[in-house]
């Protein structure tokens, strides 16, 4: 098959350009602008726009929006607030990408190609060409050891400098002013959730965090504290921020429910949940059905579960920068909610209606295999049950839905919603023990105006009711250990006896 002349560039050409630029770069000690342009038009323009204005075809669906290179304003810099980034700053962010945004990591392009891109994107703003506008980076010293004391002192620095006004007292992004924050371009922006370090745009190492509040994130409300916090306190603050989060999200795939005695509680603070393991699931934009959510507010849920003979209780929690109880919400529908309607937060748990049949389609089931949707609406502070046979065919459950109870609490940036549902029996068996029951989640943020299909979703995962721990593993360990000891003593005894016999 023949292929026509090409206007864009393919892998081979790309390699050639990269190889060529190595030669050129080595000879002239300078980047190759033409190569940079070609690569930019091929790989970057779809988001950042052909003329660098951040208006590529994909831009409207991205939040945060792609950087407008003509503005000269960059988030991740080692230079003081308001200054242009250095070449290595740009190269490093292109190479590393910006986690949980549309900006991917381009490390596979190689250093030379990235250097060409850095040179080319600087042509979009003439200040880059003016040596007077280029300033020296601030020094980022190597981090001192992190100690319990530095973390404690860092908490004080956090409080004194009012980081919590935006980031929330517990760092979950729920500060008082969080819902009102805007970028310089007038687009709402959420403060970082410090309990999820892996989502930091500029990287999650201690040096990255130091750089963030030393130089600030230009174009956003995140200020520079270069003048107000001295170096020692800055490291303490780094350590405090660092201590709020695990290293990795550690996403899981099974909620393991623990058996408990007695009735199940709707109180998320109930002690029985404390012994149940937490599983974190990633939440994604619902982009499969019309009414798509390209940048949902919520990026993960954490789930625990307990059960007794009759019922199962799920504690679903997630972070949002505000908890909305005003108004109402709904799980289905393609159209955006009317602009004047107050939207409350909501969460839904989805399970197959019938145990053991064909798995229903992950988006609200299909005509042949329906799902039960336990929909908790914060406005009403209760659950409604829906029966789903597809995105366009989700209706209140005909009967028997009201035995599912739910209550939610929003505090310090975290929703905790408890669902208690009958496990069912016989034909209506819903959640049998020691079986992997498919389970999926949806979350709606009222503040972000999510409703119906505009929501965060998870894939299908599993709920598993673990049998009571009868200590089988310890029993096995004890028996085998003891067996080994006895065997050992017998061998020693017999060897000694035979040796003694042999000598005599």
């Amino acid at each position: 098959m023949m292929r026509g002349a090409k206007g864009g560039i393919g892998i081979i050409e790309l390699l050639a350009i990269t190889a060529g630029s190595i030669v050129v770069g080595a000879a002239a000690g300078a980047a190759d602008l033409e190569a940079g342009r070609a690569l930019y038009d091929d790989k970057c323009a779809q988001c950042h726009g052909l003329s660098g204005e951040g208006d590529g075809v994909a831009a409207d669906a991205l939040d945060p929006r792609p950087r407008d290179f003509t503005s000269g304003s960059f988030k991740i810099r080692t230079t003081p607030s308001g200054e242009l980034p250095t070449d290595p700053d740009l190269a490093s962010i292109i190479e590393r990408g910006m986690p949980y945004t549309g900006m991917p990591a381009w490390d596979f392009l190689g250093d030379e190609a990235i250097a060409n891109l850095v040179a080319y994107i600087q042509t979009f703003n003439e200040d880059f060409a003016d040596p007077e506008m280029r300033v020296d980076p601030v020094e980022i010293p190597s981090p001192p050891a992190m100690t319990e004391e530095s973390v404690e002192k860092g908490r004080q620095v956090f409080v004194e400098n009012k980081c919590g006004e935006c980031h929330g007292d517990q760092g979950r992004g729920d500060g008082e002013s969080a819902p009102t924050l805007m970028t310089d371009a007038g687009i709402p922006i959420r403060p970082a959730d410090m309990t999820k370090r892996w989502t930091f745009r500029g990287g999650s190492s201690r040096s990255d965090i130091y750089r963030t509040f030393t130089t600030g994130l230009d174009g956003t409300p995140m200020p520079s504290y270069a003048d107000s916090i001295d170096e020692e306190q800055r490291w303490q603050l780094v350590d405090y921020v660092y201590s709020l989060s695990e290293d990795e999200p550690g996403y899981g795939s099974v909620v393991v429910a623990q058996p408990v005695e007695g009735p199940l509680s709707l109180d998320p603070g109930d002690g029985s949940f404390a012994n149940a393991p937490v599983t974190r699931f990633p939440m994604l934009g619902q982009v499969t059905d019309p009414g798509r959510a390209f940048a949902p507010a919520v990026n993960a849920v954490e789930v625990r579960a307990v059960y007794n003979d009759e019922e199962v209780a799920l504690l679903v929690s997630w972070h949002d920068i505000a908890g909305r109880r005003e108004g109402s919400n709904r799980p289905n529908g393609r159209d955006a909610a009317p602009a004047d309607a107050a939207l409350s937060d909501a969460v839904a748990v989805q399970l197959p209606s019938k145990h053991g049949g064909t798995k229903p389609y992950m988006f609200y089931g299909d005509p042949a295999n329906s799902v039960d949707l336990w929909f908790y609406e914060a406005g009403a502070n209760e659950a409604r049950v829906y029966l789903g046979r597809g995105e366009e065919n989700l209706a209140p459950a005909p009967a028997g839905g009201d035995e599912i109870r739910a209550k939610g609490v929003y505090e310090d940036g975290r929703w905790q919603v408890v669902f208690v549902a009958p496990r069912g029996s016989g034909d209506a068996q819903r959640v049998p023990q020691e079986t992997f029951v498919p389970i999926a989640f949806s979350v709606w943020s009222g503040l972000a105006r999510e409703s119906g299909n505009r929501r965060a979703i998870s894939s299908w995962y599993h709920l598993y009711l673990a049998p009571p721990d009868t200590g089988e593993a310890y029993k096995a360990a004890g028996m085998m250990g003891l067996g080994a000891l006895v065997a050992e003593l017998l061998v020693v005894a017999s060897v000694r006896r035979s040796q003694a016999g042999g000598q005599s």
């Binding site: 026509g4 949980y100 390209f294 064909t358 029993k475």
Partner: protein, 257 residues
């Protein structure tokens, strides 16, 4: 009794240990795909038995093999190592017992055919499309009108970055913004094992009907791949197909090949 009776330098017990360890490393690390641990345990059992047979087949060799062991178990000067070994061994066995009885809770694996057989024909917004023979209406332009062809590719690129990039990623490698939360993960379209193995009409079917259009062996219930007929018209689908091959420098499979 001469110390190195078989004249081969290493004491018999060390030889046995070396062969045993060597067999383990070989089986454990050099075989692909990796041998399951239960099978590995069985193999190692046979290796152990064979070594014992070898050692005991010759009386002198057996005696030499046993000597250091007997010394360890009886000699006064070996008291400390004896005690250490005597404690460590039952603990190790106890741990194995624990690990054996304590299984991780993991859902059963699921069989899935990645490129299942397509239906013969599909209904696309009221139009019949033959999945085996339909041709990309713009493909012939590649030779006849290269400029018009480039325009269709460019339009396909726009379609891709407006719709597909979130899952299939900027470089078409299946690693988009949402890929970490999907199972099955989005197809890596740059991999020579995907679109280069398929006809354009097959891609048309997969794109138009998405996850819900898969047969059972393709686990339609788990696939987040949208049915793009809900969003795109016929031309847009053929154009984005042009772009997929163009960007990854691949060619569709055709019947003539």
């Amino acid at each position: 009794m001469p110390d190195k009776q078989n004249g081969r330098g290493l004491p018999v017990i060390a030889q046995v240990a070396l062969v045993f360890a060597g067999a383990y490393l070989l089986l454990r690390f050099s075989v692909q795909p990796p041998i399951p641990s239960s099978v590995l345990g069985m193999y190692m059992f046979f290796v152990g038995v064979s070594l014992m047979l070898f050692v005991s087949s010759d009386d002198d060799r057996f005696a030499e093999f046993k000597r250091p062991l007997i010394q360890l178990l009886t000699a006064r000067e070996h008291k400390v190592p004896r005690l250490v070994l005597g404690t460590v061994f039952p603990l190790l066995v106890a741990y194995l017992g624990y690990a054996g009885a304590h299984t991780e809770i993991a859902p059963p694996g699921q069989q899935r055919t990645v490129h299942p057989a397509p239906p013969n024909e599909i209904d696309f917004k009221g139009k019949r499309i033959d999945v085996l023979t339909a041709e990309n209406p713009f493909r012939h332009l590649a030779e006849e009108e290269p400029e018009a062809f480039r325009e269709h590719v460019a339009r396909g690129k726009d379609v891709y970055y407006r719709n597909c990039v979130f899952c299939h990623g900027d470089n078409l490698e299946g690693d988009g913004l949402y890929a970490h939360g999907l199972s099955p993960i989005p197809a890596n379209l740059a991999d020579p094992g995907t679109i280069a193995q398929l006809q354009e009409s097959y891609l048309f079917w997969r794109i138009a009907k998405g996850g819900p259009g898969l047969p059972v062996e393709g686990t339609p219930w788990d696939s987040a791949m949208p049915a793009w007929e809900k969003f795109l018209d016929e031309d847009e689908i053929w154009e984005v197909i042009l772009f997929l091959y163009d960007f990854t420098d691949q060619h569709p499979r055709s019947w003539e090949e």
